[in-house]
């Protein structure tokens, strides 16, 4: 009897080391980026923005310190990362609100809107990068 039973595949939880081996659909990429961007905003964005906000309002001297900190290239890179995280989180969030209201639930529409989220959030980040690096 033992020889007659076919070997059945065993499905387990995905281990961390296997994650990169899985090919996510574009909606899945937007989903995990939504989570990663949210975590980044919580860990780095919130304390950084609060501290910069405090410096900018506390006094004229504080405002000058705020401008000096923001002018530092390393800080600009961090702010750029935060700008991307915010833009992605916002645009993907709008998509989720639409999906919650049953707008664009069809497979093709959902895949297209996921691609649109990536494009729009990167374009917004680029626009903010222009302001950050003083291009205009």
């Amino acid at each position: 009897m033992a020889g007659l039973t076919a070997k059945r595949p065993v499905y387990r939880n995905i281990h961390v080391t296997q994650i990169l081996g899985y090919r996510l659909p574009v909606a899945g990429i937007v989903s995990i980026l939504h989570r990663i961007s949210g975590a980044l905003l919580f860990l780095a964005g919130l304390p950084l923005v609060l501290w910069l906000f405090q410096e900018s309002l506390i006094s004229e001297l504080g405002f000058d310190r705020f401008l000096a900190v923001v002018a530092h290239p390393a800080v600009k890179l961090v702010l750029l990362a935060m700008a991307w995280a915010f833009c992605h989180h916002l645009v993907a969030g709008i998509r989720y609100l639409l999906l919650d209201n049953h707008v664009g639930l069809e497979r093709e529409a959902a895949a297209n809107s996921a691609k649109l989220v990536i494009v729009v959030s990167l374009a917004l980040t680029l626009a903010l990068a222009g302001a950050l690096f003083g291009i205009y």
Binding site: L46, L57, G93
Partner: protein, 116 residues
């Protein structure tokens, strides 16, 4: 199956789910208000910037936007902990630390806005 036992928990999940979306809308609206307010400043300098936040409407709007953000962050971070942190003790510790941190951020925002 009318006599089937229904095990559904305390139903607080639906409240968190809905509030996460409502707070998201508040945050998006506040972002728009702040963005337009800064764009409308004649020049970005200390005087104009401080003047913007001297306005009581802006103070209250910022506090409400900040409160929405902190609650939104709480729901999101708790979701991440529930998905990835399985040992109850560690999860509880992290959640407690997050609540304290977010509450502290809220107090800090009040201090900044009202220059306490």
């Amino acid at each position: 199956m009318s006599n089937q036992r229904i095990v559904t928990g305390a139903h607080y999940g639906i409240g968190s789910w809905l509030l996460q979306r409502l707070t998201a809308i508040v945050i998006a609206l506040y972002t728009l208000v702040l963005f337009l307010s800064v764009l409308l400043l004649p020049e970005f300098n200390y005087g104009n910037w401080a003047n913007l936040f001297a306005n009581s409407f802006m103070k209250v709007a910022t506090l409400l936007g900040g409160a929405a953000l902190l609650y939104h962050a709480w729901v999101g971070v708790r979701d991440i902990f529930m998905d990835y942190i399985k040992p109850t003790g560690i999860r509880l510790g992290l959640q407690a630390a997050t609540v304290l941190l977010l509450a502290g951020y809220g107090c800090w925002l009040v201090i900044i806005l009202w220059k306490l």
